[in-house]
C-alpha cells in the first residue's frame, strides 16, 4: 500500500499537463483539418467536392465572382465530418482546410457558410 502512495506524492511534484484554454492554445500541424477556405479565383466550379462528400455537406450555389455569376461550393458546417475528401479531390486546390477550429455562433443559420465567407 505504501508504493502507490509514494507514487501519488511524486506526481505532486510534476508539472501540470493541461493547457488553460483560451489563454493558452495548443499548436497544430500543417496538415490539420480545420475549417474550409475557398479561393474564389481558382475555383473552376467542377462540382467534384459536392460529389465526393459522404455527408451531403457541400452544395453548389450561385455566387458573384470577378468572372461573372458562377456556381461555388456552400458548406453546411453542421453536417461536415472534416474528413478532408473534398480537399483531396479538388483539381485546382481551390478548396483547402485551414488550421482554424473555432466556430461558435449564436444563431444556427450562420452555420451554412456561403462561398464568400469561406476565408
Amino acid at each position: 500500500m505504501l508504493r502507490p502512495i509514494i507514487k501519488t506524492i511524486k506526481a505532486l511534484g510534476e508539472n501540470r499537463f493541461t493547457t488553460t484554454f483560451p489563454e493558452e492554445k495548443e499548436r497544430q500541424p500543417d496538415n490539420y483539418r480545420g475549417l474550409h477556405r475557398l479561393d474564389i479565383e481558382t475555383c473552376i466550379s467542377c462540382g467534384a467536392c459536392e460529389r465526393i462528400c459522404p455527408n451531403k455537406t457541400i452544395t453548389m450555389v450561385d455566387a458573384n465572382t470577378s468572372k461573372g455569376r458562377r456556381k461555388l461550393p456552400q458548406i453546411d458546417l453542421e453536417r461536415c465530418l472534416f474528413c478532408g475528401l473534398c480537399e483531396e479531390v479538388c483539381p485546382t486546390h481551390a478548396l483547402t482546410l485551414t488550421k482554424n477550429y473555432e466556430y461558435t455562433e449564436f444563431d444556427r443559420r450562420r452555420f451554412t457558410r456561403r462561398p464568400e465567407e469561406l476565408r
Binding site: 500500500m1 502507490p4 502512495i5 507514487k7 501519488t8 506524492i9 506526481a11 505532486l12 510534476e14 508539472n15 501540470r16 499537463f17 493541461t18 488553460t20
Partner: protein, 316 residues
Amino acid sequence: MLIDSFGRLVVEVIVIFILIVFFDYIFGWLERKSIAKAQFRHGPTYVGKFGILQNLADIVKLLAKENIIPKNADKLVFSTAPLLLLALFIFLIYLLPFSNSLGIAISVGLLAIFVLLSFAPLLIFLTGAASGNKFSLISAQRSVIMSLAYEVPLILSVAAVALYAGSFNIANIVNSQAKIPFIALMPIGFIVFFIAMLAELERPPFDLREADSELIAGWLVDVGAPYYAVALFVDYTRMFLGSLLISLLFLGGWLGPYLPSLIWLLIKAFVVAVVVVIIRATTVRMRLDRLMRFGWFWLLPLAVLNIILTFMLFVK
C-alpha cells in the same frame, strides 16, 4: 476551562464557529487543488486568485436553486435529517477543547463524543430511506452496515488512549502527551484508529456511501440543491472533527514550542487532512463484504492487541 462569564462563552462560541467555517472552506479549496496537482491538472483557477473563491461560488449557486422534494419522499424526514446531521457534527466540535484557554473540556468528553458520533449513520440512513428511491436506499443501507464494522475497533483504540491517560477528559489526555505523543507509544493503536476514522468519515477507500461510479451519488441522488450544499458542509465538518480527534488523541494536541497552542492544533489538523486527501487520490474503493471482513478480522484483533500491550507495558 471553567466558563466564568457569559460574555466569554459567547466569544468562544463565535470563535469556534469561525474556525469551523474557515477550516471547511480552506480544506475544500486545498483538497481540490491538491488532487488536481497530483493528476497533472490545474483545479479551480478562474474564480478569485488561485481559485480560492470557487467554493464560495458553488455554495452561492447551490443555495440559490429551487429545492425539489420527490413525490415518494417522506417530506418531514427528508427536509430535516440533513440539517440535523450538520447540527450534530458542529455540536461535536464544540465538545472538543482547542487549547488550554479556548473550548470546553468536560470530564467525560471522549465518551460523549463517540456516543454521539454513532448517531450519524442513523441520520444518513433516514435521509437515504426517506428519498423513496432504490439507489438511495441501497447506499443508506451500506452506510449503516459499514458502521457496524468500524464502531468497535474505533472505540477500542480510543479506550487504550483513555487507559493510559487515566481519564476521559480530552484536556488531560493532551496534557499527558507532554513528554511523548501517543503515536510513538502505541503505533498499532494509531493505525487502527486512523483506518477506523477513515471509515467513520466515509472517505476513500471506504466511500461506499457515495460510490459515484456505482450508485451515482448514493444518498444524495434526490436531494435538492440547497441540501446538497448542506451535505458538502457536513462532509467537510466531519473531516475537521476527524482530524481534530486524531491530532488531540495521538499527535499531542496543542502542545508544541514557540507558536501559540491554537496554531499548533490547526497545523496538525491540516497535516492529517492532507494525508487523508493523498489517500483519497491513491486508492480504490473497497467492496462491502471485504470491508466487513477487514474490520472484523484485522482491525478488531489489532485493537484488542493494542489494549493488551498498553496495559502490560505502561499501566501499573
